[in-house]
Amino acid sequence: MFGNFDFDVIARTWKYLFFTGMTFTVELTLMAMVGGIIFGTILALGRLSHFKWLAMICATYVNGIRSVPLVLVIFWFYFLVPYIGAWVIGSPTPIPVGAFTSSLVTFILFEAAYYCEIMRAGIQSISRGQVMAGQALGMTYFQNMGNIVLPQAFRNMIPILLTQTIVLFQDVSLVSILSITDFVGAARKIAERDGRQAEMYLFVGIVYFVICLSLSMLVKQLQRRVAIVR
């Protein structure tokens, strides 16, 4: 069964796979998670805002992003980010943007739509009495949100936010289409150079499975620990 397999290719290249590829994947995942949760929370507040126009803009953004595939969004921003950069700086020509920046912007803006829906559900799950109590104490909207609603909503939603981050970790593999050396991109380069696709992708699959399964088991444990007893 493994007769034609040559697992030596992994022994020869694992340093490249992990130190170059996996490092990129993990860095991008963590930075996109932080950026995505912050922007997603802002979007969620926007969607729940009393200003109809603001709620509508945020809802359109979230629903628009959620109805197109990630691959298409990756392409969009790969070509769009240089133009946005030029517009921000005021340069007449598109400015070249590195692969990491381009994919970081993509993932923050894309995942924010998904984090937004999670945070929105979290905010809506806080009972109205909490908000009213805050108002009765004379808190402003932002004091109320920052001190009362968001900390509770965030805590309730930590397990789902982390599960979404595991999905984000898996989705980072899609940037390899732009010849970026993430974990899968690195594996693809080696696989194509040495003609060892079968071994390489089998190994990549096992690595992802082990990491993601352990992470989701950790999340399940965490879920039991952070649950607020009512």
Binding site: M1, G64, L72, F75, A86, Q170, L174, G205, F209
Partner: protein, 250 residues
């Protein structure tokens, strides 16, 4: 911003002599729908079986079902695509493996199978959640009426569970359409791939991706409205909307 807009590009001939760029995009749309629908049928059948098995009292069957779901949920779809394309044929006995590798539409078949299995794990999760959301009394009543376990599932549990999980299943269906774009990594010329090749040949980046985006949004709007209609027609009397499983994903 000095980008040369040219919306007339869609009516110009695409390279390859297959017609205009608009026709190329439409053929991509057809592939997207074909991969999505075939994978969806496969996912519905497999997912329903696995999801139902996970609610039976048999411990080992539940374990196998859980393992199935974990296997497909913890490997990125792209890596699964590569594994079905490059790894699995190596494991099949010689003649079958080489027959598969020499099939003319191998990427298409691989994409359907891969996406079918991937989505079936998600469907299984929804089916299980739907069944578990029913009161225990339903299956007890079935047993009390003298129905066999199979009859209880077929006549009491599943007809209710499937109607309850229509909303989450709608988003799973939209997911399978969106996820079919990953098939471009193994060379299926679906909608995103056609938009990309149009961009490469014509340099009209934003027109190409705008058209693809509009088509995806149109699919979404149509499916959502259709499912809302079906949902209203099949609502279980006396039940308020009960959600399915909250699972992260796209």
């Amino acid at each position: 911003m000095n980008y040369n807009w040219n919306w007339g590009i869609f009516w110009q001939a695409a390279p390859g002599g297959q017609g205009t760029y608009a026709q190329a995009l439409l053929s991509g749309l057809m592939f997207t729908l074909a991969v999505g629908l075939l994978a969806w049928i496969m996912a519905l059948i497999l997912g329903s079986i696995v999801g139902t098995v996970r609610t039976t009292p048999s411990k080992w069957a539940v374990r196998i079902g859980n393992g199935y779901v974990e296997l497909f949920r913890n490997i990125p779809l792209l890596v699964q695509m590569y594994m079905w394309y490059f790894v699995i044929p190596e494991f099949l006995p010689g003649p079958i493996g080489s027959y598969i590798k020499s099939m003319p539409n191998e990427p298409f078949v691989t994409a359907v199978i891969c996406l079918g299995f991937f989505t079936s794990a998600r469907v299984a999760e929804q089916v299980r959640a739907g069944i578990n959301s029913l009161p225990r009394g339903q299956s007890m009543a079935g047993t009390a009426m003298g129905l066999t376990p199979t009859q209880t599932y077929m006549k009491v549990i599943l007809p209710q569970a499937f109607r309850i999980i229509i909303p989450p299943m709608t988003s799973e269906f939209l997911n399978v359409i969106k996820n079919s774009s990953v098939a471009l990594y193994i060379g299926v010329m679906e909608l995103t791939a056609q938009a990309r090749s149009m961009q490469e040949f014509s340099f009209q980046v934003f027109e190409a991706f705008s058209a693809a985006t509009l088509l995806y949004v149109a699919i979404n709007v149509i499916v959502l409205n259709l499912m809302r209609f079906i949902e209203n027609r099949t609502r279980v009397p006396g039940l308020i909307a009960v959600g399915g499983a909250k699972i992260a994903g796209h």
